[in-house]
Subunit: 209 residues, 4 copies
Amino acid sequence: VDGGGLSLGKGRFEAFSDGVFAIAITLLVLGFQPADLHPATNDGITRGLLALWPQYLVYAASFATVGIMWVNHHALFGKLKDVPHSVVIVNLALLMIVSFLPFPTALLGHFGLMRSPVIYYGLALIAASLCFGALQYMVNLVPGERPSFIDFLKRRNVWNTIGIVAYGAGIPLAYYSPLATILLYAAMALYYMLPIGVRAAADTRAPNA
Amino acid sequence: VDGGGLSLGKGRFEAFSDGVFAIAITLLVLGFQPADLHPATNDGITRGLLALWPQYLVYAASFATVGIMWVNHHALFGKLKDVPHSVVIVNLALLMIVSFLPFPTALLGHFGLMRSPVIYYGLALIAASLCFGALQYMVNLVPGERPSFIDFLKRRNVWNTIGIVAYGAGIPLAYYSPLATILLYAAMALYYMLPIGVRAAADTRAPNA
Amino acid sequence: VDGGGLSLGKGRFEAFSDGVFAIAITLLVLGFQPADLHPATNDGITRGLLALWPQYLVYAASFATVGIMWVNHHALFGKLKDVPHSVVIVNLALLMIVSFLPFPTALLGHFGLMRSPVIYYGLALIAASLCFGALQYMVNLVPGERPSFIDFLKRRNVWNTIGIVAYGAGIPLAYYSPLATILLYAAMALYYMLPIGVRAAADTRAPNA
Amino acid sequence: VDGGGLSLGKGRFEAFSDGVFAIAITLLVLGFQPADLHPATNDGITRGLLALWPQYLVYAASFATVGIMWVNHHALFGKLKDVPHSVVIVNLALLMIVSFLPFPTALLGHFGLMRSPVIYYGLALIAASLCFGALQYMVNLVPGERPSFIDFLKRRNVWNTIGIVAYGAGIPLAYYSPLATILLYAAMALYYMLPIGVRAAADTRAPNA
């Protein structure tokens, strides 16, 4: 619309985004540090590895969240050929939050299920969801390529808003039980993965599919 | 089958999977930490570098295992055009385990050939094999694209099951000799790499090749 | 021109460059280290996370700088089919600086807004800009594919030079206020992201677009 | 030749190799650790950053070595369509060494220009060159796609052998001057980058170009 020079071919745009998603998801493992385990006896290490169970849960929740965000990121750009500059910028903001997630994940691994890092983790998830919502909004503004904005608001946005509400609800919940918050966040990732969640999102693309 | 909106083009699916395999395999090196070597004299460093020999073995075994899993991952999707949602999800589970492997590898590097981290490493390999088996099962269910499920069960599954049995056998073996377990795991990676192992797997694709 | 054997297909050249950009941008998060936070109480962690605000700013500035450099890198090669050897080498030099940026970023995270790491960070940004300018110079020398060198000098080079001047001005500024320098650098990244900055760059491609 | 099931499409093979090269080259920066710098004063940090000069040299040498190996890796597969299983396996061995290079690089960063880590670094470069030579040998055995093996032996192998000899010569040299060894290794990377080095390699492809 406003000159090809300001848009980007989808191929390289997706390759870069995929790269950042793939790296961020793989860096999550750096939250596990052998040096945190002691004493260095067979029993000590075994006990230490068992005591990491909340970290396994958080790792799985983070991995599932980034993974499903990648799946939906792909679905979002399904039919676009060129990516306008505004979308490139909002996408960079999303990637900035996604790339940041290994830190809150590692924080939970380091300190365990304490209230402060759990809330911090929830805030990071909210920031990622807000960026994803903004990206959806921008992409759906691209004319002629997407279902109507009305349909978009009715379905996919509702679906993303459910996530923001759940992530937000996890924050006061952490004052009672940090574990409950993490279980809620893991459940959200599962919900987004289930066909029902994906279908709710996919429905918004139906007119163009 | 159940709506294009729920499947993913193979191109980006493979690009993301390749990215995670490539990053996980490259993060294995982070198990080597210069700070673990001392005293900081030429002789001390040389002795320390030689004493790392079990870690070199584990690094090579992990690298070979992830590498060959990538080769087989590629072969698995040879003729598919779209990847159904169920396969995307099981694939995410596999990638979650593959991305996790740098931790058990680093654990063995940090503590050396002790029983507890060796068993933990074996459990991680079993989890990866189970996910790979589940992925094979899901992919082969995609209609019209694959050899019959009977053939699949007869050959490729047998081949993956051999891996699970060997990884499982390594666990009691670690009570007698952690080194023997690691040698067994390295041998399995070599077996999977040899043309005979690849052919056993490749044979299951023959009807479509 | 001087033999196909000395040039590289753009596809794999871009894939490798994209990979390095994507990884360097994702490694920026490793500047955040959970172990830097203490005491390990809810209040202590919360205060520590709030006290990280300069690091959040630097993370965002680095992410935006690498991100926008990637966008412009893509634009630069828009119409080229083969990449001459000289460009491959200058590109490697640029990637070497881009890959290095996680260190100055982590340095600022570790020491906070002190003069010495801020100046170091500014020098790294200048080095990256110089390499990017050299890359632009080399790419624009490729015959028949680019606007005239005169146009190039008039516009895109001016635009890159503004960056070098601003990064340079940040160095004496750090003697008065390291924070002011970081704000200047973040503002530069925002400027490069705004359509006006992108358009200024895009204009130089207009004759070929 | 021996069944499509045992070879790999070049596209995904190159994508995976590119990914590993890109990640390994980017992980080199992790050899720089802010915590190694002290005291945490402006003067102390500045002196510490200046004292890192041998590490900058090693970083540049490693980056150039991996970078040029990637360029030559690309050239090597120029006209191949399918990659035989044997080449896939030898390529995995090469990638295993390339992925390992961040450790010797970090070792030199941690201990400085001492004899023991310099020799270790040289041994890693020799291992990488041997794997690259083996890969060249395997690729050139693929029938009908490459210049004759005689031509190959005459030119490209000579070129790789020069590298192995130089890396080998650096080892006794380290007993007199570790710095001289590092300068020799950096000079080799520069030589491989210069058009003359590239042309020597490119010449071997001439009959097919």
